[in-house]
Subunit: 122 residues, 2 copies
DNA sequence: CTGAATCCCTGCCGATACTG
DNA sequence: CAGTATCGGCAGGGATTCAG
């Protein structure tokens, strides 16, 4: 009668104490992921970087309606979450390159899952 | 050199026009899913309902710190998204049962993906 | 070129009180 | 029991300006 899924090694519920929270907790894995993706534009920035390393200006060009403030915020947030690295290159004019970390690339399947559900006919 | 994933039938990028947006678009599948899950407490409500049908009071008991206002908001939002159904039962006192739709149950894999990424060592 | 700082405005969420 | 109405605080995000 229950519809417990059978083979999910990492496992959503049950034995993990973080699954039994009765309020939003910052250390809940689901919250961690949603926090990394939180905020407008965030998934689009990640998607852009999934296509490869980008410079600040390239990101601005790809997302013309994204303000400098929010772009900076998003990149800082993603760096803080361990999703992107920021690399300054010497010389003039100063250039910076942003790239996904291995952990950032693992967001691919997450975005895929989000895409798949939203793309399925409602 | 590219790291295009090889076998994703629904497909994130490329041939789907909704993947080429340069700004957050409400009809983007990723946005649709994030909109369904948007807001504090939402995932916890879904998680509760993944365990089976629940009454309003049962949800309140499971999530004691969730206010009536927000619980109502979340249930309405999830109903609007086609994720839950709301069923009044006749008699006194009035009772209402909330249950996931088939589409709502398909959020299981989405939450699993979110969990897995957040649970992986950073 | 690559940001950080500021200002303002809006929308979310929590608490409380009230109704069918 | 199952909500809605109202209000206030606070954080998020957009536009603009300034800086390294």
């Amino acid at each position: 009668m229950t519809h417990r899924t059978v083979g999910h090694p990492p496992g959503l519920p049950d034995h993990d104490p973080r699954a039994r929270v009765d309020a939003p907790a910052p250390d809940c894995p689901v919250e961690i992921t949603l926090a990394a993706l939180r905020g407008r534009w965030t998934t689009l920035v990640v998607r852009e970087l999934l296509g490869g390393e980008r410079g600040y200006g390239e990101l601005r060009e790809a997302l013309p309606r994204l303000s400098d403030k929010v772009l900076s915020e998003r990149l800082a947030q993603l760096a803080e979450a361990g999703v992107v690295t920021r690399t300054r290159h010497p010389g003039w004019p100063p250039t910076v390159r942003y790239a996904l970390t291995p952990r950032g690339r693992e967001l691919g399947p997450v975005l895929q899952a989000l895409w798949d559900w939203g793309a399925a006919a409602g």
